[in-house]
Amino acid sequence: MNSSTCRHIWTITKKELRSYFSTPLAWVLIVVFLLLSQGFAFLFGGLLEYQNASLAAFFLYVPWIFMVFAPAVGMRLWSEEHRLGTMELLMTMPISPWHAIMGKFLAAAVIVFVSLFLTFPVLITINWLGDPDNGIAFAGYIGAFLVGITFLAVTGVISALTRSMVVSFIVALFLCLGMIMSGWPIVVASIDGWIPGLGQKLAQLSVLTHYNELTKGILVSSDILFFASVIGFCLYLTAVILKTKRA
């Protein structure tokens, strides 16, 4: 990547972040994320009693929270451009569509990163009170971040398709739900009962399967590769959709 590519991407990212924080939406989403994730950890993990258990509970529920959170963050990425008609401005600037796609994705990823980062006080508290396995926690955070931005990439594809934020939110939410459920043991077992072997195959495409590996504390490159390829595919699909919509 040369310097002008970086500069264009950063220009887009900055502008998107400014848009996010110029309305209460981003703040509200981050606060709700923190309340939910910590609430679940407290309720089901008994945060103060079993430190490791509470972190485990936090990581257990994070994909489910991201299933709602990521579509809410990502729904406006392209729908808003369609709705305002600004696509015509953006796509007649002397930049490649890739700069816009990357810049927007990065801005949304920053929101996910900030949300996860703000749960750090909890980690510090747990470390102060006891002796958790920080390696596992670190791997868990990496996994959670990857799930979050994968859902963002999926949401980006849907929002490139429609000018309605509501539609892109709902459709993206269901897709994310599907990507979790296909790795859920009960679902896997019942699909396997129906067509033997299919459940296991589908489970390989589930974020949950790969995320679970990561939260065990093992950073396996194949799991990371899985997330990277889903994200890459979604960004590519976004580019194709944007191009076809213009033709």
Binding site: T11, S22, G85, M91, T92, S96
Partner: protein, 321 residues
């Protein structure tokens, strides 16, 4: 500066632009005239690289829009139809964003943003959020966006749409002034705009160019253009009438008023002989010691040309629809 060759655009079975060719040089302002749905916006979207053409070649400042879009887009300032804007940004924030995408930074960016805000009278609202602006200011903000990098080529889709008469007047003046050192295309369906700001105009209808010329050339295509309105006195009307009809340059005569010593009417010269005919009428009247009370060459009205050229077409398309 802008060369368009055999450009076409199909949307499925619909032909929105059908084999259009034209050229705009530096220092020219080309007006795109045409009824709604004629294909003006579609053509401009292809020239600016937003829509891929179905067929044809477009080059802007030597760069092919399809093959080297980034080089071509860098030379163009574009004001899309309806002046779209990012509503969550402030005026200055928006212009900064566009300026940065245009490759400006630091002091250069500040200077460019200030210059375009001055040109469009936006200094008073620079810190205001775009969604709180009135329509006129929104429009100017998008206009300022198109000027920020002082482009060689300026393309504007209905730049005066939705403005009040004073603002319209101002924008036309701005276009005319900028046209001296840029190549400009703007579309409109307001005819006086063409006369006020264009050095050349193209009339588009049903996706094709139906007329192309200076505003004066276009006007001369109007029915009745170049005919001569006259009123004379002091010569017996019947004599005057037959004498005028006998003049070489005059094809026919239509008389409105015929009194004892007064004749009033319109003379239709043979083609291209308008000036000669008025000279002959003048000489005739003075040779008879008559009094010429009125002598004027009738200018065609762009309205009439526009209607004549495009009306058959709109009827055809509306009956088809």
């Amino acid at each position: 500066m802008i060369t368009v060759e055999n450009l076409s655009k199909h949307f499925g079975p619909k032909v929105a632009v059908d084999n259009i060719s034209f050229e705009v040089k530096k220092g020219e302002v080309l007006g795109f005239l045409g009824p709604n749905g004629a294909g003006k916006s579609t053509t401009m979207r292809m020239v600016t690289g937003y829509l891929p053409p179905t067929e044809g070649k477009i080059s802007v400042g030597g760069a092919d829009v399809v093959d080297s879009p980034i080089a071509a887009k860098a030379k163009i300032g574009y004001l899309p139809e309806n002046a779209p804007l990012y509503t969550e940004l402030t005026v200055q924030g928006f212009l900064n964003f566009i300026g940065e995408l245009r490759g400006l930074s630091g002091a250069e960016l500040d200077k460019a943003v200030n210059r375009s805000m001055d040109l469009c009278h936006l200094q008073g609202v620079r810190h205001q959020s775009v969604d709180t602006l009135s329509k006129g200011f929104r429009h100017r903000t998008c206009f300022a966006q198109a000027l920020i990098h002082d482009p060689e080529v300026l393309i504007m889709d209905e730049p005066t749409d939705g403005l009040d008469p004073n603002q319209k007047h101002e924008v036309r003046g701005l276009i005319r002034r900028m046209g001296e050192e840029k190549a400009i295309i703007f579309s409109t369906h307001i005819l006086e705009e063409v006369e006020a700001a264009c050095s050349r105009a193209i009339i588009i209808s049903g996706g094709s160019v139906v007329a192309n010329g200076t505003p004066d050339q276009l006007k001369s295509k109007a029915k009745g253009s170049g005919s001569i309105r006259f009123q004379l006195a002091g010569i017996p009307a019947t004599t005057a009438k037959s004498d005028l009809e006998a003049l070489n340059s005059i094809g026919s005569l239509s008389v409105d008023r015929e009194e004892e010593n007064t004749l009033r009417g319109v003379a239709f010269p043979n083609s291209g002989q308008s000036a000669r005919a008025s000279e002959e009428i003048f000489n005739y009247v003075s040779s008879k010691n008559g009094l010429l009370q009125e002598l004027a060459v009738v200018e065609g009205r762009l309205d009439d040309v526009f209607r004549e050229i495009t009306s058959s077409d709109t009827e055809a398309s509306s009956s088809a629809a």
